[in-house]
Assembly symmetry: C2
């Protein structure tokens, strides 16, 4: 299990997000990465801290050029235009019947975001770019013959769409890993974060080379709410290559593992050559943004069942906000996958 990480994420440390009617400290914090790193240090897995920079040509196969340009420059533009210096956060959003592009620095954040949980500060672009580079590097390792690799991405990625940030996500790391792994042939992304990987779904919804399958809390009651229903199967040539498995609040190990078996059978039917695992741990019992009741042991079993597919796996870090348990839960998953 090759580990890819660096500390660029420390440049991304917004002081707040707007959530359920109040400004609060973000649940997604640098402390998450520190706790993961401590657990990884104890495993003996080879750790790679020199990350290959993601090529621009790869980034623009996942995200629009305009959106990338936006992420790079908006913080300075926003501040110059009078936006609050704590962070870029939209207040008017481009919605169902009003969604034409407007270039004003105080407007664009509402065009390129679906929520107020993706604050942008001065170092956000650098952190997001390096997280994407980790996913690229881990996937490259698998393309070059490693059976398993893990990218300790922070910020996470699965909520980021082709031209939208949200849910602590700016660049879609799992999508970038999948695009990279296409060098080996078709890819499946399995998303086990409790929150639907809405961005990943959107990016690949009309494509048949990357299959997306997600286990998550029912969108009727669980963030991000407005996508992720069971009847979303893909469109055009992507039809039949998207699978959502929404689960009820309170779901436990047994329920989750049955859904994992469903997902694995579906992945087998898709004849893929690589698996990208969007690994969130907010399914853990007591996670402050969760609602499931998984135990640590469940992550070992998830890992084993994924490994039983007999394919290389790129593990990409997504959510998980029960911070004290996060490192050990991750290591449980990685042990399950690699057997060591």
């Amino acid at each position: 299990m090759h580990i890819f990480r660096n500390d660029t994420h420390l440049q991304h440390a917004p002081v707040h997000e707007f959530y359920d009617g109040a400004l609060i400290p973000p649940f997604e914090s640098a402390e998450r990465a520190r706790i993961i790193d401590r657990a990884l240090d104890a495993t003996g897995y080879p750790i790679h801290e020199t990350i290959s920079g993601i090529p621009e040509s790869l980034l623009t196969r996942i995200h629009t050029h305009d959106y990338i340009h936006y992420l790079q420059h908006i913080y300075a533009r926003w501040c110059t235009a009078g936006g609050a210096t704590e962070a870029v956060l939209p207040s008017t959003l481009a919605v169902r019947w009003m969604h034409r592009h407007s270039p004003h620095p105080l407007a664009e954040p509402g065009y390129y975001a679906f929520d107020l949980s993706a604050p942008i500060v001065a170092g956000t672009w650098q952190a997001a770019r390096d997280a994407a580079s980790m996913a690229y590097s881990a996937s490259l390792a698998v393309v070059n013959g490693a059976p398993y690799a893990y990218a300790r991405c922070r910020p996470p990625g699965h909520h980021a769409g082709s031209d939208m940030c949200g849910g602590y996500c700016y660049l879609n790391n799992a999508a970038i890993a999948a695009e990279t792994a296409l060098a080996r042939g078709r890819v499946a992304i399995l998303d086990i974060d409790i929150h639907h990987g809405n961005g990943t779904q959107q990016i690949f919804y009309a494509r048949n080379d990357v299959t997306f399958v997600s286990l998550h809390g029912q969108p009727e009651v669980m963030y991000p709410y407005f996508l992720g229903f069971a009847d979303e199967h893909g469109v055009g040539s992507g039809y039949g290559h998207n699978r959502n498995i929404p689960l009820a609040l309170g779901s436990d190990d047994a329920t989750f593992l049955r859904a994992i078996d469903d997902a694995c059978a579906y992945i087998q039917s898709q004849h893929v050559h690589t698996i990208v695992l969007s690994a969130g741990f907010d399914t853990y019992a007591g996670d402050p943004l969760g609602g499931f009741a998984l135990t640590r042991d469940c992550y070992v079993h998830i890992g084993r069942r994924c490994a039983a597919l007999g394919l290389p796996i790129v593990v990409v870090q997504e959510g998980g906000y029960a911070i004290e348990a996060l490192g050990d839960n991750l290591v449980a998953l990685l042990h399950g996958i690699s057997g060591v």
Copy 2:
């Protein structure tokens, strides 16, 4: 000039909105209505404080049943679900590619809003319903033979769409006045608020019985940003019955009055029988949410040019945040219209 008003609006007094990255006291406040009332009291216009309640059947011709039900009940549902008690404000919004309905009390505010400037508190529904009733009553007066009537609506309405609140607006008072005035035949709504009447446009975009014409700041640089461009002409049978006249920041009396002349010529070409005037005064020089440079005298001229069309006029209060000047600016407009 018959004046319709009451004090139910006092029940709507949210402590904050989220704007340009910060929680701030709302620019739209009860003090606006107090200053307007003081100016109206000095005019001698007949004042009607007993308002006819708007029939449910009229309300549901403008707004969806589900949205009305949402407005009535969301504050209590939101608080029970753990939302901040200060006000209902969405944090995740239903946007371009994720906009399926989700019924969770912490999710629905993001389905039924396009921004964070329409906070909902315990008394919001009562205030919005009475504002709609004022617009209905003023329009009824015109239907029954009065040449001119004014509804001192608070909260305002022109940003509210068929199933969306935003920009201090919950129910679209001008749309309700127009729907009521259809008893006299076709109607034109002229919107002179500096912000595009996006909600009014959306409500009537596919209809040919109500024409919408709006003068406003260019949506590239002015809230609400994502609608209101000059090439939006209506759809279906509504094609040709929507006209946007975006004006540059800094526009002065002369520029605005030329645009009023354009708008009046367009209204004449539409062969309507009643005018509803969405009267915002945030075009006034120095308005904190504005960007134009109109003087008080301009409102007299606007009123005269509207009256020169020779049609009954229902004036509906929209924005205006240069509070100390608001009452006098309104009276200038009403004098211009009525000649007294």
